[in-house]
Symmetry: C2
Subunit: 471 residues, 2 copies
């Protein structure tokens, strides 16, 4: 991995080009990238089993589109302009006389624009996944990149979207993190109506509800003492603040939490509505067979973003709580319809992939030690046998076995070393002795074992070893 | 498909946001994107069978990196700058006081930077594929996008790279276009040493060789008459120009062309060296089993870019010659080492994917008519049976069958219509009658056939139908 937090100037004499990563960007080694691809394939496969389809949108949108929802702060957007002469940017945003453009900072605004652009080509409910880069013009720091990959999964309805989709999203989260095999995790669920209804019921004025949500969202990090102080500062009474602290402590198995919450019901219509929703979601989770130990209802989950209106999710990797939520989201009623000017309620989740992946690699939870450039290498022992090597490699590829060939004469020891570094499982040797006897020496690079295999059977031999190859 | 060549202003009254694509960008419908993913998977799989590994580099590089090789013209680079206040770009390229950044315009300069940044983590020869976006600040026109996906495949050696890799690249091209199933194609190969050696042998001065290459590169489009005129304008004598025209007509099966070329040998050392290389490449192509009808040696192939030094490739889709070359590349000695300041010769090919894919869809060569959102849909017939629907969908997903559920009561006809639009193959119905009898009605949406399947056997039933599902 190669992260550039602050640029390191290089002191070259003849070539003066600083080819290091631009500051705030990240780049993976081939081994890390192979691991990343493996993970992204697993995520994609989970999403496709749930009937999500892939979309891609341009990295660039009109600035007015990016700023239509001000929620990310417009100082985070990168504008783009052609550079016309060496080292000198033109600087006028309307460089081509027509439009101001910027790089997207999330995948939600592009989803809204995509739906508006393709409204009549889309069948609703529209379930899409989008795994791609976003850009944020921030000061870079550890774990914060100016460009990173997000994996977003949303289901959007036209006019309405049944609540059962709110139970489907945790099922997808469950499927994804099971597939990634990064350890035990807990999907934590709350409902904004429950939370805000509770705030109302203890007397928080409507103008301060949003502030309360933000304070609760930060409570886990801040601790109870600081949270209390923040609530006082907002103007919440001592009594109400105490009740809020007590309320956000409520967490645990869904049915248990629902029974604890029942004592608050009947006081506030929003709360009651939210409680009904949570009850339905609990039922859906059970029916979909999500193991109980991986789901909790947690009144301390709020999500900071303004657009959530109902169910909200966070996901904690157990033992790695420092990572924060590794997958978050929720239900929104008014977000995706902003451009299409229709009611398009949705529910979605998002994984900040680059940060998560880099952290998991750094912590050794995902291991990229062995790079698998290919399954099999055909070594180059004798220049006169080049025709044999070429033919054998092609036969292996035709059988679906990933194969690399070396076309340079080097010592056999050096070639085995190369095969080892390339991470291949089998190195195939045909020297003049093997050629004359019609055999191939197959060296298992993991065990060091060498076997002589009939030339005519070597492809089948490796196809049968296939079960082990994929590990 | 949604292409924006010129922006269309929208005349909305209350919401004034123009959410159309920024001009020069392209976006696909879900059905087109599914088809694109299918194609990209096929390309990736071919590259991996040949032992190419995936890399990704940041979209953003330092401007000095992007401009280190001036070959693309620096007016094509998009610079990026944070936009700090609404609608107003800061305009100073050094906005954070340190570095000027731009969006990459190809994947070759980033390869050179990547190798320099990871020199000690890479095992050579380094075979990588990179399928990702590049940006060019051009005036948009039909088939020219400001952002498009390229698929690049290069093998880079440290110090040297055996010529046999020049024969491996056409094998990969062959594998890719066979997998894409877009029709018959012809891989056309030449060698810059042969071409430039010939120019020298007929008396073109060294200062005009580059100009001759460009004229020949354009000859197919320009026609012989215009090509002759361009050669005269360059100062090539009438006799030499005639010889050049005759020479670039030489094309056909590799062995045939080699025999025709033999009569020019012995006159120029570069030519002779190139002829030896072509002869070796011809042998490699035969040994790797590339069908003869898909490969030609063609003295009219030159490639415009300055950095090619030996073998060059173009690929023509037969019957679609108007598309131009659909996959091009060549051998370069001095391109990739510019940052690492080492000799890192390479050979590579590139597909201008977005333009090719959009053209193939437009011409009906690739068909995206039927969108497959999922294989199977579980319909929502009776609210009281929701638990059944959820369980069945989860069982199907666990068996690897892509499944969508509807959670809204609609008429059965409407639900079948929805399943049809979603492109599912099977729609599953459990009404109260089915539920009581312990069966599921499975409707094949393609044939219209309905069968009653035992509830306990329905997952297996669909798994067995799997062979047909994937089409």
């Amino acid at each position: 991995m190669n992260e550039s937090i602050t640029p390191e100037p290089r002191g070259d004499d003849d070539v003066k080009v600083n080819y290091s990563l631009p500051s705030g960007f990240i780049e993976f080694t081939p081994a890390e990238r192979a691991l990343e691809l493996h993970c992204l394939d697993a995520i994609r496969s989970a999403a496709e089993r749930y009937g999500f389809c892939s979309i891609e949108t341009p990295l660039v949108e009109r600035l007015e589109v990016l700023q239509a929802k001000g929620n990310q702060g417009d100082n985070l957007i990168y504008g783009i302009n052609p550079i016309f002469s060496e080292g000198h940017a033109l600087g006028r945003p309307e460089d081509d006389g027509r439009e101001v453009r910027g790089l997207r900072f999330d995948l939600t605004v592009p989803l809204a624009a995509y739906i508006a652009r393709h409204l009549h080509q889309i069948t609703f409910p529209f379930a899409r996944y989008h795994m791609d880069l976003v850009f944020r013009g921030e000061r870079p720091k550890k774990g914060r990149y100016r460009s990173f990959k997000q994996c977003d999964f949303d289901i959007v309805g036209r006019g309405s979207l049944p609540l059962m989709y709110d139970a489907l999203m945790p099922a997808l989260i469950h499927e994804i993190f099971l597939a990634l095999r990064i350890g035990e995790f807990l999907i934590r669920i709350n409902n904004r109506k429950v939370l805000c209804g509770f705030f109302e019921s203890v007397g928080v004025p409507s103008g301060d509800i949003r502030g309360c949500v933000k304070i609760v969202d930060n409570a886990e990090k801040a601790g109870e003492e600081k949270t209390l102080r923040s609530l006082y500062e907002l103007g919440v009474s001592e009594e109400a603040a105490g009740q809020i602290i007590e309320f956000v402590r409520v967490k645990g198995a869904p049915r248990l939490v629902l029974s604890q919450l029942s004592r608050y019901s009947g006081r506030n219509p929003h709360f009651d509505e939210g409680l009904t929703e949570l009850t339905d979601v609990a039922e859906g989770l059970e029916l979909m067979g999500i193991p109980e130990q991986r789901v909790a209802f947690d009144m301390g989950i709020a999500r900071g973003l303004g657009y959530y209106t109902g169910t909200v999710y966070e996901t904690t990797l157990l033992g790695q709580e420092g990572l924060g939520s590794i997958c978050s989201g929720g239900r929104y009623e008014h977000l995706v319809g902003i451009f299409a000017r229709e009611t398009l309620p949705g529910v979605g989740i998002s994984i900040g992939w680059t940060r998560l992946f880099a952290s998991l690699v750094e912590r050794g939870i995902l291991k990229a030690e062995t790079f698998r450039g290919a399954t099999t290498a055909v070594l180059f022992v004798d220049k006169n046998l080049q025709a044999e090597y070429l033919k054998l490699a092609q036969e292996l590829r035709a059988a679906g076995i990933s194969t690399i060939s070396l076309f340079e004469e080097r010592g056999l020891g050096k070639q085995f070393g190369w095969a080892d570094k390339m991470g291949v499982r089998y190195a195939l040797v045909i020297g003049s002795r093997e050629f004359e006897s019609g055999i191939v020496t197959v060296k298992d690079m993991r065990t060091g074992d060498q076997v002589a295999v009939d030339r005519k059977e070597v492809v089948q031999h490796l196809v049968h070893a296939g079960g082990e190859l994929s590990v």
